[in-house]
């Protein structure tokens, strides 16, 4: 069972780590710890995991619940420069080329209301589909689409202002 779980862990650890990292204002140590806690929590419940379901949706649901209490106390954000410092070379990739533009977007996203920010992260950083996000948040797909659309409009508006 542990071997099977390890496979799931390897496949999803980066997504959960980034989800946590974006949610806890890029405090890398906290994000690392939270990722471990999320996966260990998942492991203790792994027996009851229905293999017909998507593991990705399941682990994101656990992560969402785990971070609900955590997020509010960690509102401050690091600058993108500081975030880059903690990245490894291979993480940066193409992002470096558009650093100035991304920096603006990054800060706008960081300033979004939490509910909108979470959906944006799940959609664009974690590449989750609408139905997956809806399942994680326990909402209708339509509600998720509307919320995301509003978030993108808000980002666009703020981007134009700057």
């Amino acid at each position: 069972m542990a071997e099977e779980f390890a496979e799931y862990y390897e496949a999803n650890k980066k997504a959960i780590f980034n989800y946590a990292l974006y949610r806890v204002s890029f405090d890398r140590d906290i994000a690392e710890d939270l990722t471990s806690e999320i996966f260990l929590k998942a492991f203790t419940a792994f027996k009851s995991f229905d293999r017909k379901r998507s593991f990705k949706t399941w682990i994101f649901t656990i992560a969402h619940n785990h971070l609900i209490n955590y997020y509010s106390s960690k509102k401050t954000t690091l600058s993108l420069d500081e975030a880059y410092v903690v990245m490894k070379e291979e993480d940066v990739g193409a992002a470096v080329d558009k650093k100035g533009v991304l920096d603006k977007v990054f800060h706008i996203v960081a300033d979004l209301p939490e509910a909108q920010r979470e959906i944006v992260i799940m959609k664009f950083v974690n590449d989750l589909e609408y139905d997956e996000i809806a399942s994680v948040l326990g909402k209708e797909q339509g509600t998720v689409r509307t919320a995301l659309s509003r978030a993108i409009s808000s980002i666009k508006a703020k981007y134009d202002q700057q």
Partner: protein, 301 residues
């Protein structure tokens, strides 16, 4: 153009890798969890967790059933349930809070020991009962094997010890006079009952067993002296208490009489003082206004 591509930019937001150190720590923890999970998934663990309520209920039923069974008189020294019986009695005694309760508990335990002694002897056939007792010689008497003889000895010694404990409580505890009399009477009755039963046992048993019984029976008879002693002590205590009570009453009366006479004395002295002061006032007044006062008075009149 930037506005149109904002979603693309969002997709390009940086993704970070989890550190190797964090991975290592996680796997270490995961192994620990997996081992713990394997242990708890063992058959017994699974059984206990799945049927936790039933297991507890079953354990309780088993405990009470065993405790009840252990109170039977055929559970004697040497029986595997006997320690449970002893433990139960210790609990009973702990819950007897008053001195009277403790005496009653000790008497109850001594009666149980007697029943156990009877039970040990009753395991043996009663000999040839058709032979008249007067004619029957030792061959029809009950002779216990070594182990039973030892158990009988222990049981009767315990019976003796319980009565001694009851007497000790009765002799040392502070109780109301009527309760003291009541518990001593109970002990006396119990001792009589035991001596009678032991005599009966003695008649049924052979020489070896007879000696064990007689030793305890003599000890029980010896209690008569101790009971008398406790009675005497109780009587002395009662008289002492009565005397102290009477003393207190007497002191109270004396005190009240004394305070009464003091009051009277004070009142008399007060009257005397008042008379004296009145007299003094009159004299002084007469000195100050000798004739004019009288003249004024006669004019007004």
């Amino acid at each position: 153009m930037i506005n149109n591509n904002i979603e693309k930019l969002l997709h390009d937001l940086p993704r970070f890798n989890r550190s190797q150190r964090a991975d290592d720590v996680f796997y270490e923890k995961l192994n620990g969890f997996a081992e713990a999970s394997d242990e708890s998934a063992s058959f017994f663990g699974l059984f206990v967790r799945r049927f936790a309520f039933g297991t507890v209920a079953l354990a309780l039923v088993a405990f009470f059933a065993t405790a009840t069974v252990s109170y039977r008189s055929d559970v004697v020294h040497g029986n595997f349930l006997y320690p449970l019986k002893e433990y139960g009695e210790r609990v009973e005694l702990a819950f007897a809070f008053s001195a009277e309760g403790k005496v009653n508990a000790h008497i109850r335990f001594s009666d149980r020991r007697l029943e156990e002694a009877n039970s040990i002897i009753s395991r043996y056939p009663a000999g040839m009962s058709f032979i008249p007792v007067a004619v029957a010689s030792n061959f029809s008497a009950i002779n216990l094997n070594d182990e039973d003889a030892k158990n009988l000895d222990l049981t009767l010694s315990d019976m003796h010890a319980e009565i001694a404990a009851a007497l000790d409580v009765a002799g040392t505890s502070e109780m109301e006079d009527d309760i003291t009399e009541k518990v001593i009477a109970k002990i006396e009755t119990a001792v009589e009952r035991h001596v009678q039963a032991l005599d009966g046992m003695e008649k049924r048993t052979g020489d070896g067993t007879k000696n064990i019984i007689r030793k305890v029976s003599d000890g029980q008879k010896g209690f008569a002296v101790k009971v008398k002693d406790v009675k005497e002590k109780a009587k002395t205590k009662m008289q002492e208490r009565k005397r102290r009570k009477a003393d207190i009453e007497l002191r109270k009366i004396e005190k009240s009489e004394k305070s009464e006479s003091e009051k009277e004395e004070k009142s008399a002295k007060k009257d005397e003082d008042k008379d004296e002061s009145d007299q003094r006032k009159k004299v002084e007044s007469a000195k100050r206004f000798p004739k004019r006062d009288r003249a004024n008075t006669s004019r007004v009149d």
